[in-house]
Each structure stands twice: as C-alpha cells, then as structure tokens.
C-alpha cells in the first residue's frame, strides 16, 4: 500500500482526533473538583506555572459562582489560559506540584477547571479587560503566536496601538499549526485569537513576512518599538544519506498539513519511523497512527531516563500502539525508485555526562534495519538563522539573544518565546510576551 491518504472513514477520523482531555460535563462535576482544592497559601501550583496564574484564587472563584472573576484571574496572568488548559504538560507544571501528590492522592484537575472558566468566557465573549487611555505609542509585533499576541495584549491594555505582522493566514502560531489536533481544534484556536484581539488596539496583518515583504528597518522607522515573536522553523536535518528520498518528511510540515488540509488529505505510510522523543516526535507518531498507519516506531538515541517528553506524553503514544526503540540513532535511509523502503539505525550506549548533565549516546558500531515506507524527522527544530542574521540580530545558531530586559542588540527591538529559547511550551512563550511588553513599556516611558 505504501504512502497513501484517505485511509479511514469520516467517523474514524473524528473519533481518532476527538478531544483527548474532555471538559467537565456540567457545573456539578466542576464543583466536585473545585471544592477539593485546599486553597493553599503561596501555592506550589502557582509557583510551578510559568505565567504564575493564581490557581487557588481562580478555583475558589468557581466555587463561589464567580466565573467571570475566575476567568479574569486566569487571563490577567495568561491570555492564552484557554489554549493552555488544553495543551500545557501540566504533569510537570501546576498539577505536578499540587500538594495532593504528597498525600498520594490525585492532584486537582487544574487544567480542566481552567478550561471550565475560560471556555465560558470565550464562548460568551465576556469583555473582561478595558484599555487604558491612549499613550500615543505604536508598537509592531512580528508573529501572531503565543509570544506575540500575549505581548500585544499587555501593550494594548496599557493604551498602546499594536500592529501584528504574521506570515501565515491565521493567528495562534504553533498553537494553530503545530500542536496535536486531538489537544486543540483549529476552530478553538481561531476563537481564541479572536477573543484576544477583541480587546481592541490590536490589528493583525496576515501574509506579512519579515525578511520578505517587511524589514526591521521599515518597522523601526514606522513604530516606536518592535517585538519579535517569530518562533522556530523547520525540523532539524538528520544529515544522513537518503534524507531526500520521497517519504522522508519534516514533523512540523506533517503536522502543519494535518492542521490545515483536513485529515483525509494527509498522506501517511503503512510503516512509519519517527526520529526523536520530544513533544513533536510524540505528536507526529500518535497522529500518524491516528491517520491510519499500521505500524509506528519511535526511534531515540538515549534511554527512557533521558527522554525530553513527559511520561504522560509517552503513555499517549504507547496507548496508541506506537513502538519505541531506545538507544538507536538513524544512520541511513534506503530506498527503491526514489521511495523510502528501509531505515538503518546504529545501536547506541550511554557514555559521559554532557554539559546539560545528561549522558551522551555513543555509537556501538552495531546496526539494525527497520522496514519502513515513511520516516518522520522530529529531532528538534532549527531557528531562523538566515533571517535573524540578515536583520543583524545577535543570535546563537538563530536563537535571538536578549538581555535580562528582553532587549535585543538593536535599540527598541525586543524578542521572546521560541525564537529566543529555541522551543519550549506555549505557556513559556506567553510569559515571554508579558515580559517583553513590560520591558517595551518602560523603554517607551523613559525614552
């Protein structure tokens, strides 16, 4: 059969890509959970949220029937609180440090409660924020992803006029184009962007690409400050023979297609190998399986102990029936008639500690071969090095360098999110956007 699309029925696609963390069925169900919350002081969950949402407060507000207040508490810290409630790896964030864990009890379902409050706000289009009177300033934001829009929202609340330049035709960044479809629907992403911009003072110009139809110089001339939230680019090259065979795809591209073309249109192999063990690798593997691939194998060069994804993520892949091969690195992709037929891997073993304190994989010289018709590359993403260097921004392999104030080497130009950290979570990008806005506001004030 090899690579093909349209493998499943409409119902099967729907079933496979339905919400992996469904919301509370009704108010009573939410209240049972909300009432379990102990209302901790200086709460560990809040400290473990990169945006510092006052979790005990918003949960308490659910119990007092103050859902508006609850949504406001969430959004004041994290304007992507709705999206985050669906995509955050909470097991290593808020819920991971819930004190109930120390009693060996289920942690409070913080994300689910967060979704309960924010869904209502977004559905009913509650106007929870007012803009301050105009401060007469104009700021350009590049990228309508979590970092860019979070920055724009804070700036606009403070009375700044914000113009967002986005190369795609929709906002939300990887939230819209990258995250697994069973975590968040394209429709929700659109509603979320609409809700964020309903504040006013934020104009998104789509189809505008920095480095193509706009340049930093123009922006510096037309605006009082610039914020760069451009994220990171395509998947890292494997740099092995056979990488250009038909059937070797970039995970980001693969997922982008799933999110934009509709499930039946996306092609997938019978036997798929996925290289990597991060969030992207997991998402690519599970979604390949959910599109109808018969066998999906994740190939990772270290052991389970070093894996970058969380246990919860790995479990999703395993429950979907994906296989995992630890201590294996891709060596060569082989093919016939220009199409992938095999992936040759080197067996690895763990060696010395690297600079991050993880043990580095070392090649044993042994190899083995997987019969596959598709290889998905998900061994990290590369930053936009050419673009960034071209705009004369100081960077580290494309990751924009900023000082503690979020400022780049160019005066009045700030940056944050994946473009700076090289690729973390949505919630980190949202915080980066807030930090950037704060720095820009103080820059504009003191100028």
């Amino acid at each position: 059969m090899a690579i093909a699309n349209n493998r499943l029925t409409t119902e099967q696609y729907q079933q496979n890509f339905s919400d992996i963390h469904p919301p509370f069925v009704n108010k009573s169900a939410a209240l049972v959970e909300a009432n379990r919350c102990l209302f901790c002081y200086d709460a560990p969950c809040t400290k473990s949220c990169p945006t510092g949402i006052n979790v005990p407060k918003f949960i308490k507000q659910i119990t007092t029937d103050n859902i508006k207040g609850s949504a406001h508490t969430i959004f004041i810290s994290n304007i992507f609180g709705g999206g985050c409630s669906r995509v955050c790896p909470v097991e290593k964030l808020c819920e991971g440090s819930c004190v109930y864990n120390l009693l060996e009890e289920e942690p409070i379902a913080i994300a689910k409660l967060q979704r309960y409050a924010t869904d209502k706000a977004i559905e009913d289009k509650w106007k929870l924020f007012d803009r301050k009177p105009s401060n007469g300033k104009k700021v350009a934001v590049i990228g309508a992803g979590p970092a860019g829009l979070s920055c724009a929202h804070v700036l606009s609340r403070e009375g700044t006029e914000v113009t967002v330049f986005e190369k795609e035709s929709k906002g939300g960044g990887l939230m819209t184009y990258g995250i697994a479809a069973y975590k968040v629907t394209p429709q929700f992403c659109e509603e979320e962007v609409e809700y964020i911009t309903s504040l006013g003072g934020i104009e998104i110009k789509y189809g505008q690409e920095l480095g193509k139809n706009i340049s930093l110089m123009d922006l510096q001339r037309d605006f009082d400050a610039v914020y760069l939230g451009i994220g990171v680019g395509v998947a890292r090259q494997l740099d092995i023979p056979g990488e250009d065979l038909e059937g070797v795809v970039d995970a980001i591209r693969f997922i982008y297609d799933i999110r934009t073309k509709g499930y039946p249109a996306v092609t997938v192999g019978d036997k798929v190998a996925v290289i990597g063990m991060g969030m992207t690798a997991i998402d690519a593997a599970t979604q390949a399986k959910r599109l109808g691939a018969k066998e999906v194998t994740l190939v990772y060069r270290r052991t389970e102990a070093e894996k970058p994804c969380t246990n919860v993520e790995l479990d999703i892949a395993k429950l979907d029936g994906c296989e995992v091969i630890w201590l294996a690195a891709p060596k060569e992709v082989k093919g016939e008639n220009g199409k992938v037929t095999q992936l040759v891997c080197s067996r690895m073993q763990l060696g010395e500690l690297d600079t991050n304190g993880r043990r580095s994989p070392v090649n044993t010289g042994e190899t083995f071969t997987l019969e596959v018709d598709m290889v998905i590359k998900a061994a990290g993403q590369v930053a936009f090095e050419t673009l960034v260097s071209g705009e004369l921004l100081q960077n580290n392999k494309g990751k924009i360098l900023i000082d503690t104030n979020g400022a780049t080497n160019i005066k009045g130009v700030y940056a944050g999110g994946d473009a700076v950290n090289g690729g973390k979570e949505v919630v980190d990008a949202v915080q980066a956007g807030k930090d950037g806005a704060k720095a820009i506001l103080s820059y504009l004030e003191n100028r």
Binding site: P44, T63, V99
Partner: protein, 422 residues
C-alpha cells in the same frame, strides 16, 4: 457486644435513637418503614389544631460543596385529620410493640382542648407525650408553639393542665428561641413534666435568591422566618443541653436530646452531655432511614472499645468537665508542633497564624514547596493552625505547662500575677 437498649421513664426501645416529631413520623407509611429499618422509637408528628400548609416549605444552607449543612422549614403541625393519625398510631404500636411511640401535641391554648386531645391519644396505646412548645413559625401567631415555650409562666400553666389529665409519661420539648432554655425548663419541671427534650428549630433566614432578591423558601414572591436545624445547629443544641444538665432543677428529669444529630458520634456527644435518648430529623430527611444501621453499629463498637456495657454507663459523663472560665487552669500551656514528614506545604497554617493570630509560624521559601515551622516562644497555643491543617495529625499540640501548680483566674488575680503580658 454492648447493650444499647434504652429505658426512658419505663418507655423501652431497642436502641436510644428516636425519630423526632416531623415529616418522617407523620404517617403510618413512614413510621413502619422506619421501624423496619431499625429505629428504636418515634415521636409522632405534632397533633393539635386544624392547619393548612403552603407549598414550597424547605430551604437549606450548603457549605463547600456539601449539601444541607443546615435545613430550614416553614411547615406547621400535622395537616392530616386527627382520627386518621390516631388509627395509624394504634396500628403502628400493634405491629411493632417493642418500639417507643411518643405522640407530640400542641392543642389550642385552653385546658379543655388539652384534656380532650390527651384522652383521645391515650386511647391509641401510645407510650408517652411530647409537648411541642417550640415550633417557631405559623403556630406562634396563634399563641401556640414557641410563644408558649418562650414564656415560663404560660408554659408552666399548660404543663399543669396536661399533668392533670395524662396517665403516661410527659416530655416537654423546649424552644431554643430564647436567651436561655433554663427558665422555661425549670418552670415545666416544677409543673410536673416527667422529662425534657431539646432543641426545636431555631428561627432563621437561610439565604436570599440573588436573582429574585427574595429569601428562601420562595412562596409567591414572599418568604417568612423558618425553623433551622441539621448539622449546623448541633453546637448550639449541645450548649443548651449542657445548661439543662447542669441546672439542679432541670437535671432531675431525663432528657431526650435533639438538634443536628447525623452520626453515632453526634449521638454519643449528646448522651455524654446528659441525653438519655437522641432524636433525629434532618439526617433522615437527607439520607433516609437506613442511617440507623451505622448509628447502632458505631455506638456499639465505641462502647465496646471504651468498656461501657450499657448506655447508662456514660450518659452525662462529660457534664462535670464543663466548668466556668474562671476555674480554668491558667498554668496550662501547649504549643503547636508541625510534623515535617507529614506536612504537604499547603501554607494554610502559616497564613492563618500570620494574618489573624500570633505570627508564630516561620516560612522558609522553597520552589515549589515552602517549609513551615512553629516559633514556640511566640505560640499562644490557640489551636487555630491545628484546626485548619488538612492533614490528619500533622499539627499536634504539645503540652508545655507554665507551672506545675493549678492556678485559676481568681487565684491569679489574688496573687497579683502579670496580666496583658503577651
């Protein structure tokens, strides 16, 4: 197995748990189900004057997600024809001869009405009467219920009328809608009542609907004060019970305790403060009659553990431990101690003590978990942190007496020991 049977003025029941006079006891159907479930006795729903109830009769107070912490009603006494009630009472006694059948009464306010009612009810074979001097709504406007119980003189007169006619034991049920239950209690004991029961419901407004702005329960755009009961009133009932158990006059008669009893533990507390039997209403209205099983089993197991073979071994045992403030030992001192192995770092003890008590808990910042410890020299031993801590036995109070000698307030003053020194 302990013997949990009860003998209240010769009225026997297999256990000390009676259903209080209320909807659960207002007809044969319910009472037979209660007896089948195992209840020791019932106080039949109050019989007396002709009444008419309204629709929409109850409201409640919920707490932290729990339903019906407190319950409120605006119902009147039985609204069924007297002869049917009497027939059904006789039938229940015939079918369950080993259970206590007490009938609650509230006649019109004249001697003749009381005498007639007593005569009719005695013909059913009932084992005792309970005089309802407590209903706080509907009947008071007509000079009955709480308006009798609130005036010791009137209460005494009515009990005297009753005692002239009654040939079976008479229990007088007291209203809590007074500043002290003792004056009426004394008056009715002096008038000859054989026993007391307390409390009836407490006047209340349970809440207001924030859309209609009308309090609950809603009756066509209006509401009235209702009678409050259920778990929320237990501490008030226990206090009132204790004052009756302490008074030299009222403590001479047996007491049936009522007010917020939901579990065997609640019941034991009432008994420790002097109740010979315990009556229950709200808890069965919330859960049904089946709760009698754990009431009996829990009481039995506790008595076995404590070595009590009959309920008389512990009834009233805690009464002497309730003393006057000025007799408390000022040299007694204890301080909080946090077991760090059990602590889950919720910080609730810290914020309570820091904001509202004595700033006696230290916070050492940690991410995500802070460490909390007691500053013993600052701690006054108020118990607040221990009460708030969500983990069983994580915070304990450790005795650190200030001196070996028992010194009370009077002695403290006499010796001129330091005051206002914290």
């Amino acid at each position: 197995m302990a013997d949990i049977s009860s003998n209240f003025l010769g009225i026997k029941s297999p256990n000390p748990f009676w259903l209080a006079s209320a909807p659960p006891t207002d007809k044969k159907f319910n009472v037979l189900r209660a007896f089948e479930a195992g209840w020791g006795g019932v106080v039949w729903k109050t019989l007396g004057s002709q009444v008419k109830n309204v629709s929409s009769r109850y409201s409640a107070v919920d707490f932290n997600g729990g339903r019906v912490m407190g319950f409120n009603n605006i119902e009147l006494i039985s609204d069924r024809p007297l002869h049917i009630n009497l027939e059904e009472i006789a039938e229940c006694i015939r079918l369950f001869p080993d259970r206590a059948m007490i009938v609650s009464l509230m006649a019109d306010n004249d001697r003749k009405s009381w005498h007639e009612l007593i005569k009719k009810v005695e013909d059913t074979g009932a084992h005792g009467f309970e005089l309802n001097f407590g209903c706080p709504h509907g009947m008071t406007e007509r000079g009955m219920g709480a308006s009798v119980g609130q005036d010791p003189g009137i209460a005494k007169m009515v009990v005297e009328w009753v005692m002239e006619a009654a040939s079976i034991p008479v229990i007088t049920k007291l209203t809590p809608n007074v500043h002290s239950v003792v004056p009426t209690g004394k008056a009715v004991v002096e008038a000859g009542t054989n026993a007391l029961s307390l409390i009836n419901t407490i006047q209340s407004v349970t809440g207001i609907d924030l859309d209609t702005l009308v309090p609950n329960p809603y009756v066509a755009g209006k509401s009235v004060f209702g009678g409050y009961c259920g778990p929320a009133v237990k501490p008030i009932a226990l206090k009132m019970l204790a004052t009756i158990s302490q008074d030299p006059v009222t403590s001479t008669v047996p007491i049936s305790g009522i007010g917020g009893v939901s579990t065997w533990k609640d019941a034991v507390e009432f008994m420790l403060l002097g109740s010979s039997t315990v009556q229950v209403c709200t808890a069965v209205m919330k859960h049904g009659f089946r709760i009698i099983e754990d009431l009996c089993e829990g009481l039995n197991n506790w008595m076995d553990e404590k070595g009590f073979s009959t309920i008389n071994d512990f009834i009233g045992k805690s009464v002497p431990t309730l003393t006057h403030w000025e007799d408390l030992d000022i040299n007694y001192h204890h301080v909080a101690h946090i077991n760090q192995d059990k602590c889950i770092h919720c910080g609730l003890c810290y914020i309570a003590c820091e904001d509202t008590s004595h700033q006696s808990i230290s916070l050492t910042y940690g991410k995500p978990y802070n460490t909390y410890a007691i500053k013993e020299e600052e701690c006054v031993g108020c118990n607040l942190c221990q009460l708030i801590c969500p983990v069983d036995k994580c915070i304990t109070m450790v005795v650190q007496r200030k001196g070996d000698e028992y010194v009370n307030w009077k002695e403290w003053q006499k010796r001129g020991l330091p005051l206002n020194d914290h």
